[in-house]
């Protein structure tokens, strides 16, 4: 259980970034910080961070965003599941192959969120809701390096 607090801290920071006030025109582009963070930790420590973490994290995010309870939980569990299946391949991918996979993973995340929001009757009017997948993929190298440094520094295992 070494360095557990580093994981918690990174999720907390991701949560703050997820609700940070942004200018109106950037609203649709906001990267899915929590999903990015989760993807990293699942790939790095699949035996520690998995479905249950994703579930709790998603519920926390639902509360933060004022979304229906279960929306982000559902999306993040699906993402975590895919990561758990793919992590051995993802680890040997090059950076840009990884970014491509992250694009797909966050895209799936957005689709699931959109599906649940449509149940609620407040779906997005256009395909703009997929933009976070693009911005998240572009930010992946940054997140990867940052979290990897953190993990090595504090020997999280």
């Amino acid at each position: 259980m070494q360095g557990y607090w580093v994981i918690l801290l990174s999720f907390f920071v991701a949560g703050v970034l997820a609700v940070l006030p942004m200018p109106q025109w950037l609203q649709w582009v906001r990267p899915e910080w929590v999903a990015l963070c989760l993807i990293y930790w699942v790939i790095a420590l699949p035996h520690r961070v998995g479905i249950l973490t994703a579930l709790l994290l998603g519920m926390g995010l639902d509360i933060l965003e004022g979304a229906m309870l279960g929306q982000n939980a559902f999306a993040l569990v699906v993402v975590a599941l895919l990561c758990l299946i793919l992590y051995q391949r993802l680890r040997v991918f090059s950076l840009w192959q990884q970014a491509g996979t992250v694009f797909v993973l966050v895209g799936v995340n957005q689709l699931v969120c959109q599906w649940v929001q449509n149940l609620q009757g407040i779906g997005a009017p256009s395909l703009l809701f997929l933009l976070p997948a693009v911005s998240s993929a572009l930010l992946w190298p940054l997140v990867l390096h940052l979290l990897r440094e953190l993990r090595r520094q504090y020997a999280v295992a």
């Binding site: 703050v16 970034l17 609203q27 933060l64 979304a67 309870l69």
Partner: protein
């Protein structure tokens, strides 16, 4: 597998039965620190706006406020006598007296990160007597209502959210209508206005007090667009919200006298 079951359970409970109000309220209390931290940069800017000023600009601002205050005082001079007159006249008409509402100043600590949800988080909660359904106004008009209360913060739904509608009346002639949110911050749509209804560009829409949720007489929106298409049963009327929905940092929570009596 278990996780999927839990999620489906949660979604059904929240969507169909609204069973999770108390749970949400509890968890939201735990989530408040995140909003507080996310708000820090803005708070810092506010602080620097407040304290890092040249004496000259302070003096200028002081003078401007003095002038504004003078104008407002001038306007309110007759208020007392007008109010007394209003009470007398209403008594003559046998209608109940209009009482002044109390307000509580609250500060914005967050906005919904999801562009399809128009929600605000404010820094007052159960501890300050905030309740679900409480109207929220700013200096210019009605903003929305409280939909979720935690111990120290609460979440408000704006009138422009696609799931919100509010009973209004035209200030000029009392025509009643329903104003629905459109999901865009700058527009409300007035639904089911027949083509012959007396409603004009620039008309001020105020809360009608019908429905019992919003007190009467708060400005809601100004009509900006009317389209009377003979081919359709209803005219299309669009109005711009009076409140500065995307700019107000300080908001007012309204306690109507009726609420007090009800509690």
């Amino acid at each position: 597998m278990l996780a999927i079951l839990v999620i489906l359970g949660l979604i059904t409970a929240d969507l169909r039965y609204n069973r999770l109000e108390t749970t949400r309220s509890l968890l939201a209390t735990l989530g408040t620190p995140v909003y507080w931290v996310a708000d820090l940069p803005l708070r810092l800017r506010d602080w620097s706006d407040k304290y890092l000023h040249s004496p000259l600009s302070l003096a200028e601002e002081n003078e401007r406020l003095h002038r504004a205050n003078l104008i407002l005082q001038g306007r309110s001079q007759q208020m007392a006598s007008l109010q007394a007159e209003n009470v007398r006249l209403r008594a003559l008409l046998n209608s109940s007296a209009l009482l002044r509402d109390d307000v509580l100043v609250a500060e914005l600590i967050g906005v919904s990160p999801d562009p399809v949800r128009h929600q605000l988080v404010i820094n007052k909660g159960l501890a300050d007597g905030v309740f679900v359904g409480q109207p929220l106004i700013d200096a210019d008009g009605l903003m929305g209502q409280i939909v979720e209360v935690s111990a120290i913060s609460s979440r408000a739904l704006l009138i422009t959210d696609a799931t919100h509608s509010i009973p209004v009346q035209v200030n000029r002639n009392g025509v009643r209508a329903i104003a629905e949110g459109t999901g865009s911050l700058g527009a409300l749509e007035i639904r089911h206005v027949s083509a012959t209804t007396d409603i004009e560009l620039g008309d001020l829409l105020v809360t009608s007090g019908l429905g019992g949720r919003f007190p009467e007489g708060y400005p809601v929106a100004v009509v900006t667009e009317i389209e009377r298409d003979p081919g359709r049963a209803f005219a299309r009327v669009v109005a711009r919200p009076s409140a500065a929905l995307d700019r107000s940092r300080h908001v007012l929570l309204v306690f109507s006298t009726q609420d007090r009596r009800g509690n």
